[in-house]
């Protein structure tokens, strides 16, 4: 049998609970600090404006492109490589007094008129300022609704101390993921928002696996302290935690490396989220549950006579 974790001994995770708590607090403070000063580098979806992606036969010289565009009355154009040196992304803020939807074609015409060889139109996006604001509003709404629904589900399935622990762990993961996006000013667009919600799902998934075990062990072992129970549960689920995070990170790296530039933000958000989520299900969710004072009494279920309990399960 090939095993990642050979230890027969229970690992004393909770010994490091204190430094881990401080570490988490530090990360959150940094994230909130960055978010409050730099906020996020909002993508076109949220700010509105125009974006044009073009491909060239040979590597593009950005300075020349900027000059061409400045001469064509687009001095405020943000010009950068996108994906490779042959591809260039031009981004323009919403303008007063100009039909937003015609800007994309004007930029293309300007590039075609200049001597850059064959210009391949790859993508034009125009988002009106109102639409951008609406998308941002809907996105925020989605996250809040998701958190509320999950809170309801978890508190229905688990004792409130565990529910509280898992939801706080979620908030921890989202804040830190956003913090990284803010700190490094990675563009935040709609796909990143979707990834953030996927992080919510994933991180909770991890926490629930641990909590299920904690609940089971509390019922099984009558004499252990809550710390011992938590340590034992974490040890038992550790190899699963590592393997699942591992396979998920495999596919995310694959997405990040070969998935193309359009999906970079998405993969980045999930990579950070899965990493932080794995850590938080150990040190945030479980440690918090102990702090909130879980004990054996909370886990003993009321005895319910179940119909068909004496029969074989379906699967």
């Amino acid at each position: 049998m090939f095993e990642l974790i050979k230890s027969k001994q229970t690992i004393d995770f909770m010994k490091y609970a204190k430094p881990a708590t401080w570490f988490s607090i530090l990360l959150i403070v940094i994230s909130l600090g960055s978010l409050s000063t730099k906020w996020l580098n909002w993508g076109l979806d949220f700010t509105g404006g125009t974006l044009i992606e073009v491909g060239f036969d040979q590597p593009a010289n950005l300075t020349d492109l900027r000059e061409t565009l400045a001469a064509a009355e687009f001095p405020d154009a943000v010009v950068q490589h996108f994906g490779s040196s042959h591809e260039v992304m031009v981004r323009l803020a919403p303008r007063e007094g100009v039909k937003g939807q015609t800007i994309g074609n004007q930029v293309l015409n300007a590039l075609n008129a200049a001597d850059f060889g064959n210009v391949d139109m790859r993508r034009i996006e125009f988002v009106g300022p109102n639409v951008g604001a609406e998308l941002a509003e809907n996105g925020g709404l989605a996250i809040i609704i998701a958190l509320v629904c999950i809170m309801l589900y978890v508190s229905m399935r688990f004792e409130w101390r565990l529910a509280m622990g898992s939801v706080l762990a979620l908030a921890h993961d989202i804040i830190i993921t956003l913090g990284v996006f803010s700190l490094f000013q990675i563009e935040f667009d709609l796909t990143v928002l979707a990834a953030l919600l996927a992080v919510v799902g994933y991180s909770l998934n991890d926490t629930i696996v641990v909590f299920d075990r904690i609940r089971e062990n509390f019922r099984l072992i009558a004499t252990a302290t809550p710390e011992e129970i938590v340590n034992q549960s974490l040890t038992q689920t550790l190899s699963r935690t590592i393997i699942t995070s591992g396979t998920t990170i495999f596919v995310l790296i694959s997405l990040f490396v070969v998935g193309g530039a359009l999906i970079h933000g998405f993969a980045t958000a999930l990579l950070i989220g899965v990493g932080v989520g794995t850590y938080s299900s150990i040190y945030v969710a479980s440690a918090l549950a102990i702090k909130l004072g879980i004990s054996r009494e909370h886990m003993i279920p009321e005895v319910v006579e179940k119909e068909g309990a004496d029969q074989d399960p379906l699967m």
């Binding site: 939807q101 391949d120 993508r123 996927a198 699942t244 490396v257």
Partner: protein, 620 residues
Amino acid sequence: MLNKYPLWKYLLLGFIVLLTLVYAAPNLYGEDPAVQVSATRGAKVELSTLDKVQDILKQADISPKSTILENGQILVRLSSSEDQLIARETISSQIGDGFVTALNLAPSTPGWLESIGGSPLKLGLDLRGGVHFLMEVDMDEAISKEQDQMVQDLRAELREQKIRFRGIEKDTSATGVVLRFTSQDILNNAVDYLKPINPGYSFQEKESSGVFYLTVAMTEEKLKSSKEDALQQNLSILRNRVNELGVAEPLVQRQGLDRIVVELPGIQDTARAKEILGATATLEFHPVDSETDVSDALSGRIPASSIIYKERSGRPVVIKKKIILTGNHIVDAQSGADEYGRAQVNISLDSKGGSKMSRFTKDNIGKPMATLFIEYMPTGKKKANGKAETEKRIEVANVATIQAQLGRSFRITGLDNAAEAHNLALLLRAGALTAPIQIVEERTIGPSLGQQNIDNGIKAMVYGLLAVVLFMFVYYRKFGVVANTALIFNIVMIVGLMSMIPGATLTLPGIAGIVLTIGMAVDANVLIFERIREELKAGKSIQRAINEGYSNALSTIADANITTFITAVILFAVGTGPVKGFAVTLAIGILTSMFTSIFGTRAIVNALWGGRNDIKKLSI
């Protein structure tokens, strides 16, 4: 104890796997380059059209794979994309007016698969290339027009009854008009007469310093239905304009109360598409004021009932403000030639428009009538409610002399050439809008990027899958192979289900969702296998360990997946476009992975090891 599944469970599993396999199969067949011929307004694709297309192709020496007439369209499948381009050119130059030819890719799904409803995955615009527009209807303008109409109608109704009023104007603060009367009695008369014949309006009286005001306003329902009408009208006009673009499989769909989504797959010349779609315009027929001299009018001596506008060439024309007819009564306008070969435009009106036109032209034979083309250009400024302000630009499209009393269908003759006639017909058709619309969001993906997105997505999927499969095999050996089998069926099932569900489209984030599912789907098996290992270490028998491994892990797996499913559903409900695509594959992926990794692997495990008492060691 032994782990055995009854036969029906295997049959059920086999049936479900086979079903999704069959529906995933159409994705294996490629696509044929094709040319699609459809009719615009006024024409119809018939069997004779099909014969004509076949003749044209024969003459051009192109042998198509097939030509079929289906859903009022002709689809010509060709063997190469060179043939496709030639075929399109020859057909569109020879088929004549009223038909549109478009390039398309037709899935070459075999007949038997098609007959059971099998079709390949529908790809989103980010994968196949094309334009996505979100357009917004200017409801303020629609209401303002409705008010203009009310002013005209009420004035006519009161005059007919000889009820005298001091004045009538639009109520700027509300959605109605204000009438002024000199006495309460006259006002009462007016209310008594107007109220029963104007349902859908509320009447309010007010007296201030000897003037009696009557406010006639639209009720909430009337307002709602007016806005709905404006949206519906825009929808149908956009559908027609889109048809004129000659795009295969376009989508025109309402979104919410005042927005319309237009998707044009495969379009590359977005500028032209925008010109045609975005030219928000209306049309009005006015009498020409021939009594006022143009030079007098230019120097300011112009009656209050007239106004001066210019033709495209710059020539000024004095027009009466009175509207004979607005463009929304136009049903169709086609360019053509009269018996002497001179260019003309044939116009058809709806019945209301026909009677209006007939009433006016009866007394005005021999007098000129002008067609005004009114465009709404966004000024870039904002109105108080945050919507973009539009500016009216009015141009005289045509001045024609009324030759006879006109009815529902009439023609404008005396045009300079065929091109002018064609343009006027296009303007007339396009000009039938009551409320202007404008593009508030655009996403255009070039064909090269679309293909690249597909390639990247598939590459990411393959590499991710390889890594996971390899790891599972190394770590869990034979059980790993079982999990991998389930994982591969999982992907086939996602593709099968996505192909089966009408309206489900695969987007780039959707592919990302499938890739993510690959990574997360093995979680259920990891949970189960780890549990089996634990039970084995605890000294349980092999069969007992398998059984308890599965049953103990079940509730954990369910809990963990339900929460992810909740987020997927919320994403679908709240998200737009690309986010929705991700949500769909994520949700489907969760369902299929639960099925394959619990039910599917258990079936295999039971079949391989469950029925035997002679196993000493599990390869796990």
